[in-house]
């Protein structure tokens, strides 16, 4: 971590963020899922998105990552010295923000054929210019911490169990020092021991001043990590069924 963290610094600010899917294959049906989402997240804070299934939690997280296009609104992210609007950023800028500022642990790991688990985890470090040997070593340490048996490290994760894949995914998300981290149910398929490891890792990120926005169905995890809960039902579209 370069500077002492200014905990008042806003890391992410969403303003009037909305998402509606236009389903052209269903005759142009409009499916509004989020309307007018506004919130701020500061450095070192862990904010949990709460609400029932289908309320739009993952959709918000995906917009924050640039994976879903926002229908309207602004997503300001502190990237280097500037606040940039990710919702309006060019694809190249989104990629630069992901490389340097914004990490994401998706609910499911998307595997690449023939790439070993340890390299899947090391990849974000390599992308940031760290040499392959060092990156792999750090990947090994992270996998070890998450209790992934060493015999699996050299195998592609495609054939791993759900919980094993999820641990690879978590290791990959937590290995960098990105100042903002998005977590979509990282503990959903983990046993109690590994859930506790993830709780610890989230706490460490907080201490380092990382802003985290997460979705956690598990009560115990949520209690342990949340500084604040945002109920996304507050962003329900007015005319949604």
């Amino acid at each position: 971590m370069p500077d002492p963290v200014n905990r008042d610094a806003i890391a992410v600010r969403a303003s009037s963020l909305s998402k509606s899917f236009c389903m052209h294959l269903q005759g142009g049906l409009e499916l509004p899922v989020v309307e007018g989402a506004s919130f701020e997240v500061r450095a070192g804070e862990c904010v949990v998105l709460g609400g029932p299934s289908g309320a739009g939690k993952s959709s918000i997280l995906k917009m924050l990552y640039g994976n879903y296009a926002a229908s309207s609104g602004e997503i300001l992210i502190r990237h280097g010295d500037a606040m940039v609007d990710l919702a309006a950023a060019s694809p190249r800028l989104v990629l630069a923000i992901r490389r340097e500022t914004l990490g994401y642990v998706s609910q499911f790991l998307r595997t690449v054929p023939r790439v070993a688990a340890v390299d899947v985890v090391a990849e974000p470090l390599v992308a940031r210019g760290i040499d392959a040997g060092t990156a792999r070593e750090r990947a090994g340490l992270t996998l070890e911490r998450l209790n992934l048996p060493q015999r699996l490290w050299q195998l592609p994760p495609a054939t791993f169990s759900g919980g094993e894949q999820q641990r690879v995914n978590i290791a990959r998300g937590f290995i960098t020092d990105h100042p903002v981290l998005l977590l979509d149910e990282p503990t959903a398929s983990l046993d109690a021991a590994n859930r506790r490891v993830v709780i610890e890792m989230i706490a460490e990120k907080k201490a380092q001043g990382v802003a985290q926005i997460g979705i956690f169905h598990d009560e115990e995890v949520r209690e342990a990590v949340a500084d604040r809960i945002i109920d996304v039902r507050g962003f329900a579209p007015a005319h949604a069924a």
Partner: protein, 261 residues
Amino acid sequence: MTMLDETPLLSVTGLSRYYGERVGCRDISFEVYPGEVLAIVGESGSGKTTLLNCISTRLEPSAGCVSYRMRDGESRDLYRMSEAERRLLMRTDWGFVHQNPADGLRMTVSAGANVGERLMAVGERHYGRIRDTATHWLSRVEIAADRIDDQPRAFSGGMRQRLQIARNLVTGPRLVFMDEPTGGLDVSVQARLLDLLRGLVNDLGLAAIVVTHDLAVARLLSHRMIVMKDGRVVEEGLTDRVLDDPQAPYTQLLVSSILQV
């Protein structure tokens, strides 16, 4: 922090190509930056190959402009260069990987010569060095050293395609064009080739323009993608955004027609 102020490597403006009355591609504009992989997807007949050939000086456009930033930093209009300059560019700065390896290889000379020939074309004369470099490149594309004297006729489809890739990359190009690089191959062979391509493109920091009708190939290889239909661009953007949240009716159809990418 990454600086995003670099100028594009390739810049395409208002490009169209007609075949008589028929539209090949129409009013296409985009840019490609150093180190960036762009996928061009769309159904058969949508104009992907026409576009790729027009931007790689293999086919004269009916209208529009393609400019390329040379190694000296100067951007040049490709269709205002002399034929000799264009040929030099294709030999030194560019690669072109054809769907059918037979179109990009010389089938009756050895694998080593297929790779070495490109080095000689850029002025390398030292036989030992040429052979060493060829051997090195064959190993990078996972072709055993003891196959260096065999002709590609004796290779499987996957090996031929890997040889074509080695032949294209040996001169250290800055931009590689690929037309359905995994077309015509078995699924397992495709996966291996894709993985190889992905590694090479990352390691070498190449810019590449990949034409494919396979969205999984686009997902795996590209940063950005362009979706074409009837010769036009109907959608473009970050690859995972286009695939996970497609906006255009045609892109939604394309994404929904495949099992999972």
